[in-house]
């Protein structure tokens, strides 16, 4: 069930991403022509346009691409590891833990790390949530069983949500508003430093996950099958879980909770390019990156100068497209 000539498909996805980035730079409250964008990137021309392109649109477009790629990659890996089509990057409590960290910092008014405080707290929160999930799973003695992990993830997420509700009850309106905006997710606060860090993590994560593409193919069938074909199941799963969780945690730390991408992009990629993870993984990353970049551009532009929440846009664009894809494929019969 794989496509022929995967290289061509991946190259077209790369082209799609380039197009998405170009559109993200051109679009905004004021549309710019290509030469204006290029001039601004070079630093010449109207200083405000230069500022907008270099300091605002460029980091934001790059962060959207990186977050979209990271979430899609994470979702694809979780779906393979847990053999669960409903798995998304946040299935092990990542978003809930990050939200607890962020909301606590906002409500308590902490700022130990300056503008990075919320991101650091979110990261710490998601890592704590993952550790808790693992701890629960280990206590049952069946840590690598997908169903046990999902259940533990649901429990930890519920706990996290309860904590958030409690904390918000005691928050003043300003903190409440700030926390709510964080929870809605946004790439608006993109900084060059954040982009570089996320880029590094995504590159690193993709390399690791790509190296275990074949075991992931086997995990989709079952742990037993993987083991009899020579996969070191425990170690490989740990590596995969760790990488996918880190990617999700980093994405949430910089951009808040953007849902839907990590769930649907892997499915879309699977429908279009098959289940062989050697192709599926890079395809997911590129498709997710292009998708979120375009969605972010729409969020910025559709009601300019008003800004729409990115989480709503991803679902509003993504759901109809996915439903169309699903019905289109069923009409054509089973995909080969």
């Amino acid at each position: 069930m794989t496509v022929r000539h995967p290289a061509i498909h991946l190259l077209s996805l790369l082209a799609l991403l380039a197009f998405a980035l170009a559109m993200a730079l051109r679009l905004g409250a004021v549309s710019l022509r290509v030469e204006e964008v290029l001039r601004a990137l070079a630093g010449t021309g109207d200083p405000d346009t230069v500022a907008i392109i270099r300091h605002l649109r460029l980091p934001r477009a790059l962060q959207s691409a990186l977050v979209g790629g990271a979430l899609s990659l994470s979702g694809t890996v979780f779906q393979a590891l847990l053999q669960n089509p409903l798995a998304d990057p946040f299935v092990l409590g990542v978003s809930s833990g990050a939200a607890v960290g962020a909301v606590l910092v906002v409500v308590l008014g902490l700022s130990a790390f300056g503008i990075w405080t919320v991101a650091v707290a979110a990261l710490a929160g998601s890592l704590a949530a993952i550790a808790l999930v693992l701890q629960i799973a280990l206590a049952t003695g069946r840590a690598m069983d997908g169903r046990v992990l999902v259940l533990a993830g649901v429990m930890v997420s519920a706990l996290g949500n309860a904590v958030i509700l409690l904390v918000l009850t005691f928050a003043d309106p300003e903190a409440f508003r700030s926390a709510l905006f964080w929870l809605m997710g946004s790439n608006g606060g993109a900084t060059p430093g954040g982009v570089a860090l996320l880029g590094g993590v995504l590159l690193f994560g993709t390399a690791i996950v790509a190296g275990i593409s074949r075991p992931l193919n086997l995990f989709s069938i079952g742990d037993q099958t993987a083991a009899i074909l020579g996969v070191r199941v425990g170690v490989t799963k740990l590596l995969a879980f760790g990488t996918a969780s880190l990617l999700a945690a980093m994405a949430v730390a910089v951009s808040g909770v953007i849902g839907f991408v990590g769930l649907v992009i892997p499915h879309t990629a699977r429908i279009l390019w098959g289940s062989d993870h050697r192709v599926l993984l890079p395809a997911s990353v590129l498709l997710g990156a292009a998708f979120l970049t375009l969605a972010d551009a729409v969020a910025r532009t559709a009601a300019a100068p008003l800004e729409l929440p990115i989480g709503a846009i991803t679902a509003l664009i993504g759901v109809p497209f996915f439903l169309w894809l699903l019905s289109h494929r069923s009409a054509k019969g089973t995909a080969t």
Binding site: A29, V30, D48, G188, A190, T191, R300, P305, L306, E307
Partner: protein, 283 residues
């Protein structure tokens, strides 16, 4: 001017369109709306208040028992205080206590507190409700005069463009028909987003940079967590000339957020910030 004694019955229609009839002006009042509380204090009716919300922090009322927040006050506490009047928000803006309070026999009066017109009207109505008619008339006259003075002082001047920061991430500002928007206009400034109809638009930072306001107004109290130096280091904000050159106005958020008796003070403070040369010269 009709003389109204402290014992005359009164009839008023509130912001929800309900008619309120009181046998006499109220002497045990709880106000859930901060600007209404301020108004009552300015009308020398603080002694007639029996409870306060978290947001009523003025010295005149600080000693009063707490009923909770404004929109989420505790009904039981309210009833336990045995007030003879509760001032609350319009139903469509969060006033939820009417049914429970009226069932307990407590009269309820809803006020609209969105813009300057509301503020004026509330002075009059709250004055009647508390029996402080004379003080209300005097306050209204004074406010009218003060506001007119501020408007006149900037009549012929160039109006600097302003970005009022309700929130910084994502950037949110106040629309033209909000209290803040009206005060800003009166004080001789123009919002860079005067073209938007929404009362509280969330705008793209790009657009703020493009419109390059002359002045940025940062309310303190709410935003004191994100101080100016932090704001400067965020992408986009440092590209605002106003931020780079320090043309940033810090004013107390409560002053600018509450459409109440301090509106003239707010207008003057804003005017002085936008037109510094007028600060000492003109009232």
């Amino acid at each position: 001017m009709t003389a109204q004694t402290a014992t005359s019955p009164l009839t008023l229609i509130d912001a929800d369109g309900r008619t309120l009839r009181l046998a006499r002006p109220a002497t045990r009042i709880v106000s859930l709306v901060p600007s209404a509380t301020e108004t009552l204090v300015a009308l020398h009716a603080a002694g007639q208040l029996v409870g306060r919300t978290r947001y009523d922090t003025a010295s005149a009322v600080r000693g009063l028992p707490l009923v909770g927040g404004g929109v989420d006050a505790n009904t039981e506490r309210l009833i336990a205080l045995r007030p003879d009047l509760v001032v609350t928000w319009e139903e469509r803006r969060g006033g939820r206590f009417r049914r429970d309070l009226e069932a307990a026999g407590i009269p309820v009066f809803a006020v609209r507190a969105v813009d300057t017109t509301d503020a004026f009207r509330n002075v009059g109505e709250l004055g009647r409700l508390s029996g402080q008619d004379a003080a209300a008339q005097a306050l209204q006259t004074q406010l009218r005069w003060e506001m007119a003075a501020v408007a006149a002082s900037v009549a012929e001047r160039r109006r600097p463009t302003v970005f009022y920061v309700v929130w910084n991430n994502p950037p949110m500002t106040a629309g033209a028909q909000t209290f803040i928007g009206q005060i800003l206009s009166l004080a001789g400034g123009t919002s860079i987003f005067a073209d938007l109809a929404d009362p509280w638009p969330t705008v793209g930072l790009e657009e703020v940079v493009r419109r390059q306001p002359d002045v940025v107004v940062l309310p303190t109290g709410e935003m004191s967590r994100d101080n100016l130096s932090q704001l400067r280091s965020l992408p986009g904000w440092s590209d605002l000339r106003a931020i780079r050159t320090g043309r940033v106005v810090r004013l107390p958020a409560d002053l600018l957020n509450r459409p109440g008796p301090h509106m003239a003070l707010a207008a003057r403070a804003l005017r002085d910030a936008l037109h510094p040369d007028l600060a000492k010269a003109v009232p």
